[in-house]
């Protein structure tokens, strides 16, 4: 075998690496996803919380998509962190999903705001775009609007104490809503994803370093403001209840916060 071409490949590879070494105004970003309740890390499977409507409740799992994260610079410039995937799946059952190591390098410097989409925008939420577990398990059925948004934005599963003081499951699932007429027929669909700018989300992405930031879901706020959401009113499932999903989406704009620069940020 002629070894010369492979040797040359190796030398070219070395040279390329040296050029990247000389480029210094970039850094790496890792985003950590946190789930909190009243300012404290969420405890699962324990009926220890009470929502704004007075429902005692517990959370079993939270599974959701975040997408189209954009960093806004001091000069108003916008940097998409799309590194080949525009959406990230977060699952409290799967620790690996609680961190997104953004693959691409990002301009180092000061950013004033982190912008995000809860769920996935309709035009990007294509049915069957995920073929593998766990993302594929978020499928939203076609006849319920799956061709308008192929995947749940979120499954938040748990239990509440109902009016009879019984522990009853709730499936607080958000995705494409349906317009339903008086004959209980679906006449149209409603996109429930939303964009938000995280309050107080200024941070500095350090040059030639890994910067870790946190995005926090404050679970209690799904049911707090501006709509007091009562599980006894909306019951255990809301995928076909746009009134409930609509109120949840309005509340959702206050659900997320920026938890700042996190520790272990050095390479």
């Amino acid at each position: 075998m002629n070894r010369v071409p492979l040797f040359l490949c190796g030398m070219i590879f070395l040279a390329a690496c040296k050029n990247q070494e000389e480029s210094t105004n970039y850094g790496k970003l890792a985003i950590h996803f946190e789930h909190y309740q009243n300012g404290q890390p969420l405890h699962f499977d324990s009926m220890m919380y009470v929502n704004a409507a007075g429902n005692p409740y517990e959370v079993s799992e939270v599974q959701w998509f975040i997408s189209d994260i954009i960093l806004i610079g001091k000069d108003g410039s916008m940097v998409s962190i799309d590194d080949g995937k525009f959406a990230h799946y977060v699952d409290t059952n799967i620790p690996q999903t609680l961190r997104w190591d953004v693959d691409k390098e990002i301009f180092a410097g000061e950013y004033t705001t982190v912008k995000m989409t809860f769920g996935i925008k309709g035009e990007k939420n294509k049915p069957n775009m995920y073929t593998d577990i766990p993302e594929s398990n978020m499928m939203w059925p076609m006849h319920m609007g799956g061709d308008q948004g192929g995947y749940h934005y979120m499954k938040l599963n748990g239990f509440w104490k109902n009016a009879a003081n019984e522990r009853q499951p709730f499936n607080f699932h958000l995705g494409v809503g349906q317009q339903i007429n008086s004959n209980n027929e679906i006449t149209g669909f409603i996109q429930n994803w939303f964009e938000i700018e995280l309050p107080a989300s200024a941070f500095t992405l350090e040059e030639n370093k890994l910067t870790n930031i946190g995005i926090r879901m404050n679970v209690e706020k799904w049911w707090e403001s501006p709509n007091v959401y009562d599980h006894n009113v909306y019951g255990g499932s809301i995928m076909k209840n746009q009134e409930a999903m609509g109120k949840a989406v309005e509340n959702g704009r206050k659900v997320f916060s920026f938890s700042g620069i996190l520790a272990d940020s050095k390479i």
Binding site: M1, R3, L6, F7, C9, G10, M11, F13, L14, A16, C17, K18, Q20, E21, S23, T24, F44, D45, S60, E61, D83, G84, K85, Y89, N93, I94, Q96, T97, D101, D103, N128, Y130, T131, D132, I133, P134, E135, S136, N137, M138, M139, P141, H143, M144, K155, N157, G158, E166, R167, Q168, P169, F170, N171, N208, L210, G236, S237, M239, K240, I267
Partner: protein, 420 residues
């Protein structure tokens, strides 16, 4: 409720872990590796060695919307020769280490192709579908298996562990009883081979005895050579070949699959059942229908019982999570009409009983999974038309081509040895 999910970040993104600072050193390492490759290629080139054995890659057929993250270990790539050897071993009752006809047991003794590779409720050897091991002094009728069977279908797409409780999974660091090497672990389909050989509920043999029995059969020598390069019969090779065959059992052509590909139409009743299945009202899909596999491959306490006394077999025994008490895998529903009885304990004899259970038979416990959201109403309360429609839809999941595929059938020369 912590499901054990084998998450593959490659699903979502390309991974490039090196940083700019690390790139220079990474480059040095890569250049070194290239030099090593250059050297090794010159000394290990099949073109220079005409006696080098060659295998033909076995390709899992691609079909729209099927998973791309295949469970094929790097040390056991699928080959045509390996799959064919595995088919023979799968159906050869001498794998039990025995030659007497009443003591033969193969994988194919219990895993019947036309029953979705389950025993089947009308199996003359295993009445009611209840399987048991080979007879022993203490159990002259054979020791009953703790659980009823799971189907063998589309396992190549499953990276979430095996068995009802997911005990066999890539994260399992335990080694088997009397383990003499890393071969005897609990990590993948390969592990299930030695587990079946030594299980008192199945072959009740030893690995040494089984390997010797296969080694004594001249027919296998050229097959091992074709698959692995030499005629040597080892446990490692036996387990790898059988695992390759099991991974080749792919079902992609039920009426439901064809409907999704727009190659078939559902009847009005089947479509109603389909829409119920994928609805909040009947709500089967959150556990079974997240993907084209008709399973999420996750574990649920599905409200069958109020009390639990089989903790050694449930998901809790693997995860340690109290919320997994009484939880078992949601199996694939592909070929479900052929795989009665149902549930891990076989309590339901037909689909009507299953549908009635989910409609009116749920019972609350503190461990019920929240996806069983209608548990306080004892079920989803379907009417007769809805039950019939749901059943009709479940029948569209039968893949006749798979159930009759001659590539998966017992080789004719092994019919007398299969142990049925």
């Amino acid at each position: 409720m912590k499901a054990l999910i084998n998450f593959n970040p490659a699903n979502c993104s390309m991974t490039r872990k090196n940083t700019q600072k690390g790139n220079f050193f990474y480059g040095i390492i890569m250049a070194g590796l290239l030099a090593v490759i250059t050297w090794s290629c010159s000394t290990d080139n099949t073109a220079d060695n005409p006696n080098e054995f060659a295998t033909t890659p076995y390709i899992i057929p691609e079909a729209p919307n099927f998973p791309r993250n295949l469970n094929i270990p790097a040390d056991n790539p699928m080959t045509v020769e390996g799959v064919e050897l595995g088919r023979y071993l799968f159906y050869d009752g001498r794998l039990s280490g025995n030659t007497a006809s009443h003591l033969l047991m193969s994988c194919g003794t219990c895993h019947i192709q036309q029953n979705g590779f389950e025993a089947g409720i009308n199996n003359p050897k295993f009445p009611g579908g209840r399987t048991h091991g080979l007879p022993t002094v203490d159990y002259p009728e054979g020791r009953p298996t703790p659980n009823f069977m799971l189907p063998i279908v589309n396992t190549v797409y499953n990276n979430q562990g095996y068995l009802w409780n997911g005990y066999v999974n890539e994260s399992n660091a335990e080694l088997g009883n009397g383990a003499k090497s890393k071969d005897f672990n609990y990590r993948n389909i390969e592990s299930l081979v030695w587990m079946s050989i030594t299980s008192p509920f199945e072959m009740n043999s030893t690995v040494e005895k089984s390997v010797a029995a296969i080694d004594a059969i001249p027919m296998y020598k050229p097959m091992f050579k074709a698959a692995f390069g030499t005629e040597e019969v080892t446990y490692d090779r036996i387990s790898k070949a059988i695992a390759q065959f099991v991974r080749s059992l792919v079902s992609q052509n039920s009426k439901f699959h064809k409907y999704l590909r727009q190659d078939a139409e559902l009847t009005v009743q089947e479509k109603l059942g389909h829409d119920l299945f994928f609805s909040e009202e009947a709500d089967c899909f959150h556990c079974h229908g997240g993907s084209i596999l008709m399973t999420t491959n996750q574990f649920f306490n599905n409200a069958k019982d109020r009390f639990f006394d089989r903790e050694e077999h449930d998901r809790h025994s693997v995860s340690g999570d109290p919320m997994d008490i009484g939880a078992y895998r949601a199996p694939s529903l592909i070929n479900i009409a052929r795989t009665a009885p149902y549930m891990h304990d076989g309590r339901f004899k037909n689909l009507d009983e299953v549908i009635e259970f989910y409609s009116t038979g749920l019972v609350y416990s503190d461990y019920v999974h929240p996806l069983m959201k209608n548990v306080r109403q004892n079920g989803v309360q379907l009417d007769d038309e809805e039950k019939a429609a749901l059943k009709a839809f479940l029948h569209t999941l039968t893949d006749e081509a798979f159930l009759k595929d001659s590539r998966y059938d017992c080789p004719p020369e092994l019919k007398q040895w299969t142990g049925r």
